[in-house]
């Protein structure tokens, strides 16, 4: 392989959009860090700037550069040693390059060349190793703030401001590189390196992504190969099952349709519910216990109680409100996937007798797709409002909280109608609207609740007017989309026709 081919290896191995995202994020991080360095007056600003670039480096190595292992696996299986060597050479080139270039850029502004290089090296190697670790360790990613908080304490990591940081980081960096090399080598030498499962490396989950050429918000942002149905294949047996078929039958179209839709719509037995709740609650409890332990060790029990009283309830409110948004996203993505597949549930339902016909069937279907999500969202709404009441949150903050919950429910109703009505807007309008809704919900949540954490008081600012206008626009858009979906549904001969049919 010539130099050009070697340099192009990571960009050919990763999915184009992910590669672009990695590069753009890296460039933005570098520019943002330099800008922060120019405008900030704090003496230790260089650490924050290096951390920003470091996170972008970690992303690049975890999600883009790690895909080279997929190419290496293919090269090994196809007996193409030159290609396999080219992949390794590309890593030897990009590794030092991705550390050296930002080190020079940041070092010219702040000095501390060696410390910056050490920090960026740790981030890059850490990101790369993360992608090569077994999938069940991916849970560390979801606990990233806690993990980053806890790791320095566990490993006795000195501050980058201290003189012995570089001598401390050198063996750690070497250890990370060796661990990554060992993972790489053992993955390549496995009998079936393409196997999927919880003990397989995280990078193997990107295999499907690399095959797809683009994304579709209705079949999944990471490609149809990673849809919820194929995920079932990868989950262990103890996480599955629990479908409640008791109420299904000719006279009960709503539970019948919910079983056929699966996912968040699936009626569960008591044991099934316990499993699902445990899946959400257990990691949360582990997180809380670890965070509590860490805070008590650092600040003592009484100080921790104070922190909990001040901020714990705010976190609960945010979890509840974001939970509603995630629920909407999850149910709509699953719904889009069901209607996108022509050889699965849609033909079965279209030809299943006894579900009723005409508008009666369409109404049953709407109840089946709305009920489970809206019920859970209602529970979250009540919980969030009860906590807000207990916190004596002022009325404006409560109104914004209420709007975020109703907004999430509005998405479920409007886009649910659009899916079953077969008249989804295109890829870009859908994405633009999703981003607009997410930003509006996030800003509406954070600004009032975190504006003044001690008293949760909402000051009258121009932002409120902007937010209010944003909500009016969103409500009008959702109403228009819901109307369009309803008219589409009414005109359809039956609701199980594909979206493009």
């Amino acid at each position: 392989m010539n130099a050009r081919a070697i340099l192009s290896v990571p960009w050919r191995a990763a999915r184009p959009s992910t590669a672009w995202l990695g590069v753009v994020l890296f460039a933005l991080g570098l520019f943002g860090a330099v800008a922060l360095g120019l405008f900030s007056q704090r003496p230790d600003k260089w650490i924050a700037c290096t951390m920003i670039v470091g996170f972008c480096e970690a992303f690049l190595w975890a999600f883009v550069m790690s895909c080279t292992v997929l190419l290496a696996i293919d090269a090994r299986q196809l007996r193409l040693p030159a290609l396999q060597q080219g992949v390794v050479r590309s890593l030897w080139i990009y590794g030092p390059l991705s550390v050296a270039l930002p080190t020079i850029a940041l070092g010219l502004f702040f000095g501390h060349f060696m410390v910056i290089a050490s920090m960026l090296g740790l981030f890059s190697a850490g990101g790369f190793l993360f992608a090569l670790l077994p999938r069940f360790l991916g849970v560390l990613f979801y606990m990233l703030p806690l993990t980053l908080n806890a790791l320095p304490a566990w490993f006795g990591m000195p501050s980058p401001k201290t003189p012995h940081f570089v001598s401390w980081s050198a063996p750690i960096l070497l250890g990370l590189i060796l661990a990554a090399a060992w993972c790489w080598r053992s993955l390549l030498r496995r009998e079936n390196p393409r196997a999927q499962g919880w003990s397989q490396p995280i990078v193997m989950q990107f295999r499907g992504c690399a095959r797809t050429t683009g994304w579709n918000p209705w079949t999944g942002f990471i490609g149809s190969d990673l849809d919820f149905t194929s995920q079932i294949r990868r989950w262990p047996d103890w996480m599955q099952g629990g479908a409640n078929l008791r109420d299904c039958g000719r006279s009960r179209p709503v539970p019948t349709l919910r079983v056929a839709l699966g996912g968040v719509f699936l009626p569960l037995t008591a044991l099934g519910w316990l499993r699902k709740v445990a899946l959400i609650v257990v990691p949360g409890i582990v997180f809380i216990v670890l965070a509590t332990f860490q805070q008590i060790l650092r600040h003592g029990f009484h100080a921790w109680l104070g922190i909990l009283q001040e901020g714990g309830l705010v976190v609960l409110v945010l979890c509840g409100a974001f939970g509603s948004m995630l629920l909407a996203l999850l149910s709509l993505t699953q719904l889009g996937q069901r209607w996108a597949r022509t050889n699965a549930e849609m033909p079965l339902l279209a030809l299943l007798p006894g579900l009723g016909d005409g508008m009666e069937l369409k109404r049953s279907l709407l109840r089946a797709i709305w009920q489970p999500t809206l019920r859970l969202q209602a529970v979250l709404l009540v919980a969030v409002l009860a906590i807000a009441w207990d916190m004596h949150m002022n009325m404006q903050a409560v109104i914004f909280l209420l709007l975020t919950q109703l907004g999430a429910a509005g998405f479920v109703i409007a886009f649910g109608l659009l899916v079953v009505g077969g008249c989804l807007p295109g890829r870009w309008p859908t994405t633009a609207m999703g981003i607009f809704g997410c930003i509006l919900i996030s800003v509406s949540l954070f600004v009032p609740t975190l504006g003044d954490p001690a008293t949760i008081r909402l000051s009258v600012t121009s932002l409120q007017a902007v937010l209010a206008a944003g909500w009016v626009v969103l409500a009008l858009m959702l109403l228009q989309l819901a109307r369009r979906g309803w008219l589409g549904l009414r005109q359809r001969a039956h609701p199980f026709l594909p979206i493009d049919g």
Binding site: C248, A344, L351, P353, H494, F496
Partner: protein, 296 residues
Amino acid sequence: MNAVLRETECAAPLDARGLTHCYEGSNVLCGVDLALEPGSVLGLIGLNGAGKSTLIRAMLGLLKPLSGAAFVFGDPALKLTDAAKERLAYVPQQPEALAWLSARQMLDYVGRFYPRWDQSFAKKTLERWQIPPNKLLAKLSPGERQRVDLIRALASQPDLLVLDEPAAALDPVARRELLREVALRAGESGTTVLFSTHIVSDLERVASEIAFLHQGKLLIRCSVDETKERYGRLWLPPRMSAAAPAQSLSRRFHQDGSVSLVVERDAQGGWPEAASLTGARVDALGLEDLFVEIAE
């Protein structure tokens, strides 16, 4: 009321009239007419991408064609009544439905909707085909998954069985067993069967009629036995290539200037006039040769 019932019973199990459909601007179906007689076994054959699955889905009302109409037991396909649905079973290509249920749960779930559901057949066949009943469908192999869906279709005891590439994921033993089951159903219960395939030997084994779909058009529709008598390859030497008949199913010019055509006997049973020219030759075509000649 009785007249309506009689009309429904007498109506063709499946009837497509002028079906036209396109995907992203390219035509997939170009005015296809196809009707099935009760009790017939029609094999729909064509190349990959010929439009077989689209035709089947349009005939069953699983997609709305751009133009034309389809009827199932006299009902418009897009607005099937429960009575028509009870008499119909369809197995899609590579079925993926209800992956979150086990095979037993899926059969139990679907069985509740069919009045003639044969529970013991479902149970016995599941055992005979050695499919683990409590394993989630998502975790079964494609072949096992296809077999579960075939059990689902057959256990409802349909009057009309529509199978889209049913043997695609099956091993030779399972394929032969499926074809035997299809033949048995058609022979003993009078079930009408429509199945698509590109495996010619399957057609010869079980189909009473064939329909050849090529580039969205139905080129041939006749009984399996008739194809050998009715179609042939007419070869004309170079000096006579100008005499080639205008009407033919395919036409291929060779490097030496000779021409081969797939031709059809006329209403009186005779070959085109060019066949009687000196040096011209008509070869009999087997089913597979016929399809290859036309498709190439």
